[in-house]
Amino acid sequence: MLTEVLERSRGLVEDTTYRRALDWKKAGGKVVGCFPVYTPVELIHAGGMLPLGVVGGGTSVELAHADSRFQSFVCSIAKSTLELGFQGRLGLLDAILFSSICDVARNLSSVFKRNFPGVHVDYLHYPQNMSSAGVIDYMESELRRVRDNLQRVCGVEISDDRLSASILVWNRWRALIADLYALRRDEPQKISTVELYLLFRAGTLMPVEEHIPLLEASLAEFRSRTAKPRDCIRVVVEAAFCEQPPIGLIEVLEEAGCYIVDDDLLRGWRFFDTPVGEEGPPLRSLAAAYVDGSTYSSVRHDWRKKRWEGLIDRVRLSRADAVIFMPAKFCEPALFDYVLYREALEKASIPHLMVEFEEKMWTFERTRNEVETFVESMLFD
């Protein structure tokens, strides 16, 4: 069963025509695109709509139109997402949500709006002043604005009751993802990162109710696997939270001798350290989760606890030996953070390696070499 689930997941992840979402659409459902990083998927789900991860074109989309709109120094995900639009592959979207992660994403939301007037484009401004006494009120108001827009434009009802029910569903889903992560952390020989990633990402491309049973069954199978630990170093992968690396690159890291014991791939889909509150007014719970329950992130300012302290904690909690810093080419939030992460890692004597990627890269030999050398230097030190 596991092989079949993983194959189906790979099929969904590599398919930029969004097959499963198209079926949903054909059956009369509505689809709302979620551009990275974090999206309050509960709002979409509570309206009976499908939240769909729209995370660029991966390895398969050739740019024919989008590179005349965005310059050469702009990250690939912005261009390939726009290209998906030009190629008609996002025609299934009723709406798409962008947020205040970086200047490129913001301008992309505008360019998207102008070129595809049939799609409702909303841009969420997430708060950055977590210390202000007004911050949760603000965040709640922002979520209400987005909800009201979705209700109006998509003609759906997103009541508090339905929203509360959705919070329960997504908490369950995120708990299962967290279980997968915990299993890989504790027994990395039983589940590879490629397997975990495919399974996880498939959940951003299909209805959550369909995905939960797959996760439950897969978890049981992964746990019952017998495999001997390999001679690997344990690493945390940091900075791949928006544009996604090609699966081939993750494979290379694993083949080169890394057990990835924690990572921030698609981090926005598992943005919270604790479950969203299940009691009380649901918009308030979601707002409070963002302000007080989020993980550290390059796209969220929170001076109460510095981001690099979060990274050091993550290394400790996952008992990692090293950090592989893996930003997408031209990703400013990640590249800026590298400076302070590096300083903190060096202070804590944690080895690190920088591996820059682009979603459509297809040769990995240089990276393989670098990672192998890095791993060897640690194994035989």
Binding site: S100, R106, N107, S110, N115, P127, S132, S141, E332
Partner: protein, 417 residues
């Protein structure tokens, strides 16, 4: 063809004088330890700092001063050695390199800030930049989070959130300075601010004249210091009175910045500070004058009527930060701003200077070109370099593109005539 322009006028001199006085204040503060605060240019709240006599430091101005004096590259390289990427904003890198070199620059010593006030007004790089400054200077950081203008108008809750934070900032300023907040002092500051804004708006409006009395891109820099850095002082208000008088006189005389105004252009995007004069001359040669520019409105859109209000000082500061500046508005709002300039300032063409450092400005400018050429039929030139990093400026390539564009424009004029 027109020769290189010589005239710089009183405005340029007066601007230099009052800006130098500010640098001297900063150098003094560095010695005496008087409180100072880092602040960003875009949609700023300098009025509040001023109400506490906190010296405002503008890292962006440090960066541009180094670039224009061709001193930026060593600072950029220093930052890149620390781990900053070749793809990071070079304004930040130059400023960090400067900080790490002891903070003594072409304008004198810049004090280490007592507080770092990040007015997050659209630009996401601001957040990182000020995190880094606060970290390296070990100074308290206040993140003044301004909700982006993502609907036609800000919501009541957006305004409440900003007002709340302004009050929290005031409490921090009280703590740092030991002074009690004096709203009447803030009103007085807002009165001066509004007077400067009146002058700014009037000056910009005068560029509707043919010829325009000054270049609203290259010469606006003389007014951008006073309006964004010194706003709220008597010196800035007086400066604008003098500037308007000079420009009005220019209009009356039918004089412009060049011997002949042959093309009226709108310029979008920040200038290449490391090659400011070279770049300017490439346009001057064709008699091309910018009659309006978007870059000059990063701090505020006063030409569209907004003024700080002494009767509602904090509310008006909040409104300026959220609504009335370029950076907190979408790029589509910018398309409309430019379209308005083209129509009401009667321009012949749009020039987009696309810079790698500032993706807030540049990401999507290809789409902007598409909109102006295909949908509006406005001749549009897009050229690329950088506002800080001299390595991205290629004079020959720039010249070829600009010459080709104006040749075509000239041809078009002839045919249309």
């Amino acid at each position: 063809m027109a020769a290189e322009r010589q005239y710089q006028g009183v405005v340029h001199e007066r601007s230099r004088e009052i800006m130098s006085a500010w640098y001297d204040d900063l150098a003094r503060a560095a010695k005496t330890g008087e409180p100072s605060a880092c602040l960003m240019i875009s949609g700023n709240c300098v009025e509040i700092l001023r109400a506490f006599d906190i010296h405002p430091i503008f890292p962006e101005v440090n960066a541009l001063q180094m670039a224009i004096r061709k001193q930026a590259l060593p600072m950029i390289l220093k930052a890149e050695q620390m781990g900053y990427s070749g793809d990071n904003c070079a304004y930040v890198k130059a400023d960090v390199g400067f900080l790490m070199s002891g903070g003594v620059g072409p304008t004198g010593t810049i004090p280490s800030p007592s507080i770092v006030v990040c007015n997050y007004v659209g630009c996401n790089v601001y957040v990182k930049w000020f995190e880094h400054i606060a970290h390296f200077c070990k100074a308290p950081l206040f993140m003044l989070d301004i909700p982006f203008l993502r609907e036609k108008a800000p919501s009541k809750d957006d305004i409440t959130y900003v007002m709340k934070q302004l009050q929290e900032l005031i409490a921090l300023c009280e703590q740092v300075t030991g002074k009690k907040f004096d709203i009447d002092k803030l009103r007085e500051i807002c009165r001066y601010a509004a007077r400067a804004e009146d002058g700014w708006a009037r000056a910009k409006d005068l560029c509707k004249a043919k010829p325009a009395p000054f270049d609203a891109y290259f010469d606006s820099i003389n007014m951008m210091g006073p309006i964004n850095v010194l706003r709220g002082t008597k010196a800035a208000a007086d400066f604008f009175d003098a500037a308007v008088a000079e420009y009005e006189e220019q209009v009356a005389l039918g004089a412009g910045p060049l011997p002949e105004e042959r093309f009226r252009i709108i310029t979008e995007g920040p200038p290449p500070y490391p090659y400011y004069r070279n770049f300017r001359n490439l346009f001057a040669k064709w008699g091309a004058v910018s009659v309006a520019s978007t870059y000059s409105t990063v701090g505020g859109l006063w030409e569209y009527g907004f003024r700080h209000d002494p009767e509602r000082p904090l509310e008006s500061i909040a409104e300026q930060m959220i609504v009335h500046n370029l950076t907190n508005r979408s790029i589509l709002d910018r398309y409309q701003q430019i379209k308005d300039y083209v129509e009401r300032w009667e321009a012949d063409a749009l020039v987009i200077h696309s810079i790698k450092s500032c993706r807030l400005f540049s990401a999507g400018q290809g789409d902007m070109r598409e909109y102006f050429t295909k949908e509006l039929g406005v001749p549009t030139l897009l050229v690329e370099s950088d506002l800080e990093d001299p390595r991205y400026y290629s004079e020959a390539q720039m010249k070829n593109r600009i010459d080709a564009f104006f040749e075509a424009l000239e041809h078009r004029k002839l045919v249309n005539a």
